[in-house]
Symmetry: C2
Subunit: 166 residues, 2 copies
């Protein structure tokens, strides 16, 4: 595990590309509950490197991020398609998804949430701001496409405390 | 002007690096009012490429983005330090900053806001969501550092409609 700059362009490229092609793992809780996400935003806010993720209140991950205020984002390699499919469709309330996927986890350097050892890189993040997607201020087409049930996402602004390539 | 993918990693790297080193230009209004920003977040939300920018309600740019719902983000080259300093300290209410900087603008392909011709690349964005930084949900240290006057930013989620290298 090698520390990298948050602007490490190889890691950022892999992350952005994976977000649009199969997803990446959002890991929450000290027991490492992975959820597949296809949305994420990386940049700089308040002078700090930031990774933003969105989680619906109905998700198990929601209560875990709320409780701990920390998460990791783990970038899968090409062999993780099945794991991504499982972690995007099953809930951590029902099963231990790390075990079910045959994956393992390692202790993070900066947060209490572990990272997935088999991933190619990961971000370690601490929540510094929380916001909610506002129905009335969102494009109506997106409301219709993404929120037929009205379960608007919470937006977590995670300060990137460390980025590591494995 | 050459169309590029929003994930074009050279443009994204230049943008993120410039955000942390001198800033980039956020341009708003049909008359092209440039403001220097050091914060910005790029990624994918609601299945769309997104560039998020933050603007304080007191800024002239705020009323321009509110009125038109569009903006461009223009990435300067190494010769634009003076222009970045001016556009970060003067208001478009007082002067035409493009003229004052000796810059010129060109018509965008997807939005009514022009881009700065002399920049090395630019993003064209349409606002699809608006949100406000919430005092009570923000790290107290950031509140103290960034908001002594309580003028919390509005967050604009801009769908990236085009990315161009010049």
């Amino acid at each position: 595990m090698k520390a990298a700059e948050f602007t490490d362009i190889d890691i950022m490229r892999q992350c952005i590309q994976r977000l649009g092609d199969g997803g990446v793992f959002l890991v929450s809780g000290t027991q490492a509950n992975p959820m597949t996400i296809g949305w994420g935003v990386i940049g700089r806010v308040w002078g700090r490197p930031v990774f933003q993720v969105l989680v619906r209140p109905s998700r198990h991950s929601f209560s875990l991020v709320e409780a701990l205020g920390e998460f990791t984002v783990c970038i899968p390699d090409a062999n993780h398609k099945q794991a991504l499919a499982l972690c995007g469709s099953r809930s951590g309330r029902e099963l231990n998804k790390i075990e079910a996927c045959g994956l393992s986890v390692s202790r993070s350097a900066h947060v209490g949430v572990p990272f997935i050892t088999e991933c190619v890189a990961h971000y370690e993040c601490r929540v510094i701001h929380v916001n909610d997607v506002v129905n009335a201020a969102l494009d109506p087409q997106i409301v219709a496409d993404s929120y037929p049930a009205g379960d608007f996402h919470r937006v977590y602004f995670g300060e990137i405390l460390g980025v590591y390539r494995h």
